[in-house]
């Protein structure tokens, strides 16, 4: 039985508690928040008795096997270090750390202590991403991707996350080097990084404000970002973050020599594109029918996954946490390779340097 602690009892902590509740052979033993009332409210709702406002006390008194850190990123490094030093494995919410240097230090520290650490890149483990990975492993793309595209949309009217950030200049998100972007883009970049080489030749980042944000009176926050990346193998990648694109996009596209694939998180779909040509006018009839068949297959898969209780909100988080716990139990490599965590952090560092950090 793995004994789990959660540090940071804000909005995202509920999702962690629910995801952990779906995993066998583990139990949440303690909660911590600088604001003890926050820890208690979570404890009361999910029947966790041990609540603390000081991590050192939690670590001493409850000795958890794993600590989930769901605090603002500015505190990730120190809290993770403290947890690792006391012998706990660490699950760090995204973004992993504020800088790539911090990310590297934590990973070195975890390896030095023979402990595991992972980043909360839960979108890597949705049903459609897992299926995509299986397809790619079978050689569907015909080798490394030639090009990749990752789209990530964000609704500025979202009352839970966006509005509090935009309404408060002192909000912790606004204090990050990349502000709003810093707190969100790691999901979309991490998906590209899985297929990128460690040696990056070029990163070009451009950011601007959308007219909607200007209308809302925001003068400091970027909400549109475009990034071009090229690695040493010649693979190129494009990342687009937008608050304006409608309908909202949350997609990964991989383009290969033999075939291409689209992963759509919004609809939970995987759409493979096979390299096949058709004679004459058949090209206007057969491929659309094939597309319809593929969409129907996605709907059918999702329907049966729902009936089989495998499809639910935050499936990716539960899957990532479960895989992380399994890697702890079997002393195997964590589900997200450390090189991917570091490379994601390096790209983010470079992007925020290029777009000018906190200044518009």
């Amino acid at each position: 039985m793995l004994r789990i602690a959660i540090v940071g009892c804000g909005k995202i902590a509920d999702q962690h508690v629910q995801a952990i509740g779906r995993i066998a052979d583990c139990r949440i033993v303690s909660l911590c928040d600088r604001e003890i009332l926050m820890a208690r409210q979570l404890g009361e709702r999910f029947n966790v008795q041990e609540c603390f406002s000081d991590l050192a006390e939690l670590l001493t008194k409850t000795s958890p096997d794993v600590v989930h850190i769901t605090t603002p990123p500015q505190s990730h490094f120190s809290l993770a270090k403290q947890s690792l030093d006391s012998g706990s494995h660490v699950y760090l919410e995204k973004p992993f750390t504020v800088t790539a240097d911090e990310a590297q230090s934590l990973i070195r520290l975890a390896e030095g202590h023979n402990l595991k650490i992972t980043a909360g890149h839960n979108y890597q483990f949705t049903l459609e991403m897992i299926e995509m990975r299986q397809l790619v492993a079978k050689g569907f793309l015909g080798g490394n991707p030639v090009h990749m595209e990752s789209y990530w949309s964000y609704n500025l009217q979202d009352p839970v996350y966006a509005k509090p950030v935009l309404g408060d200049r002192k909000h912790w998100v606004r204090q990050l080097p990349g502000q709003l972007l810093h707190n969100i883009v790691s999901h979309g970049i991490a998906k590209l990084v899985e297929f990128l080489d460690d040696e990056l030749i070029e990163i070009v980042a451009k950011a601007h404000q959308s007219p909607e944000l200007l209308r809302l009176g925001e003068e400091e926050v970027f909400d549109e970002l475009r990034v071009l990346i090229r690695d040493a193998r010649g693979t190129t990648a494009f990342f687009c973050f937008s608050s304006q694109i409608k309908p909202g996009l949350n997609q990964l596209r991989l383009f290969g020599l033999d075939g291409s694939v689209l992963v759509d998180h919004t609809t939970g779909s995987l759409i493979p594109y096979v390299n096949r040509s058709y004679k004459s006018y058949l090209t206007y009839f057969i491929p659309p029918i094939n597309s319809a068949r593929i969409h129907f297959r996605n709907a059918r898969r999702n329907f049966f996954a729902f009936l089989g209780r495998r499809l639910y909100q935050d499936y990716g988080m539960k899957e990532l946490i479960e895989r992380f716990y399994n890697s702890i139990r079997s002393n195997a490599q964590p589900a997200i390779p450390y090189r991917e965590i570091i490379l994601t952090a390096r790209i983010m560092d470079e992007v925020f340097t290029q777009i000018g950090g906190n200044t518009r």
């Binding site: 909005k11 902590a13 629910q18 779906r22 409210q41 709702r45 009352p159 408060d168 209780r309 909100q313």
Partner: protein, 350 residues
């Protein structure tokens, strides 16, 4: 000091949520009562047109202070509460998440009460709560729901973050009353309606499936017109001898859900809806709740017996306490209130 008020006209009053739907009316009524030493606390992101419009109507309002800040900041709370005699605490956590609602309703209230005790001249802390704190799960249909009725004891199961925040907020206020002798009054308004509030309340039904389902059409709605509600709040701050008391706020001549919907459809827009008997809604909620629990939240428990009871079981309501203890009576009768509510739909939404 006025014989019927616990403070004089020059004592400082703080109003949180002063730019809100009810808050603006509270400010307006305080000015009408002759209290001009007001401090209106608003969020930095607030659009203040409504509040400024109200203040502009009163020449005496030129001294009203507008204070921008965040009640989650203890520093801001100290600035807001310094020298204050009465706090009307209307700001609330409307966040959809439990943690967010808790932060918005409880941490803010704790910060404000601490600052009030340390830096204010506490005469009264008026906490504006909600009917959402009640649980009528074990009450009979049509029974009287008054201030003595049981409170929700399983807010997580009820899946109502706002109600959870309000419940915990009330607990904290009562704790401060006991531990630190904070003089407080709690008000629990029912369904507050009026110009500025355009939606149909969940007690009439739900449109979560894309069409309107009317449940419990013959239920009486615990309505309170916004000005009547604001007056109850204002009086709760001023009347002597009511510390520690709790008041439900509902108007007279309450309408049923059907009556409200008929008037709405006649004036605003005609739309089709499905009528669902309460028993069917309850059974549906029971099944949904069972499935949600069995699958560990594959479907969130949006429909559950507690919510179904609270919103659609149907109770009777009383404002006897409000009348007897506060000397309150509705400024606007129900007929006129409905007319003013419906009139706003003849103008474009603002």
């Amino acid at each position: 000091m006025n014989a019927v008020h616990i403070i004089g006209p020059n004592d400082l009053i703080l109003i949180t949520g002063s730019n809100g739907f009810i808050g603006v009316r509270v400010v307006q009524l305080l000015l009408e009562y002759g209290f001009t030493n007001l401090r209106c606390f608003v969020r930095p992101s607030s659009e203040l047109e409504r509040l400024r419009e109200t203040l502009n109507r009163f020449p005496a309002a030129k001294n009203v202070q507008l204070m921008f800040g965040d009640l989650l900041s203890r520093e801001d709370c100290v600035k807001a509460a310094t020298g204050v005699s009465i706090i009307y605490h209307l700001a609330a956590g409307f966040d959809k998440s439990f943690a967010g609602a808790f932060m918005g309703s409880v941490l803010t209230t704790r910060n404000l009460m601490d600052a009030f005790l340390a830096h204010g001249q506490p005469k009264r802390f008026v906490n504006v709560s909600s009917f959402a704190v009640y649980s009528n799960l074990n009450m009979k249909r049509g029974s009287l729901l008054d201030e003595s009725c049981p409170l929700e004891d399983a807010p997580q199961e009820r899946f109502n973050a706002y109600g959870f925040g309000k419940l915990k907020q009330e607990e904290l206020v009562k704790e401060y009353g006991t531990k630190f002798k904070l003089p407080f009054v709690i008000l629990r308004p029912g369904v507050v309606f009026g110009p500025g509030s355009r939606g149909l309340n969940g007690r009439m039904g739900t449109d979560v499936f894309g069409f309107f389902i009317n449940v419990g059409g013959s239920n009486v709605l615990p309505l309170t017109y916004v000005e009547n509600c604001a007056e109850a709040i204002v009086l709760a701050g001023l009347r002597p001898g009511i510390d520690g008391e709790i008041f439900n706020v509902v108007d007279d001549e309450l309408l049923t859900s059907n009556q409200f919907l008929r008037a709405y459809k006649k004036t605003v827009k005609s739309f089709h809806f499905i009528w669902l008997p309460y028993t069917v809604a309850y059974c549906f909620s029971l099944l949904w709740e069972y499935y949600s629990r069995k699958t560990k939240g594959q479907l969130p428990p949006a429909f559950n017996r507690r919510r179904c009871s609270a919103e659609w079981k149907g109770n009777r309501y009383s404002n006897v306490n409000l009348r007897q203890r506060l000397g309150w009576k509705p400024r606007v009768n129900m007929e006129k209130a409905m007319a003013m509510f419906l009139e706003q739909f003849e103008r474009p939404a603002g």
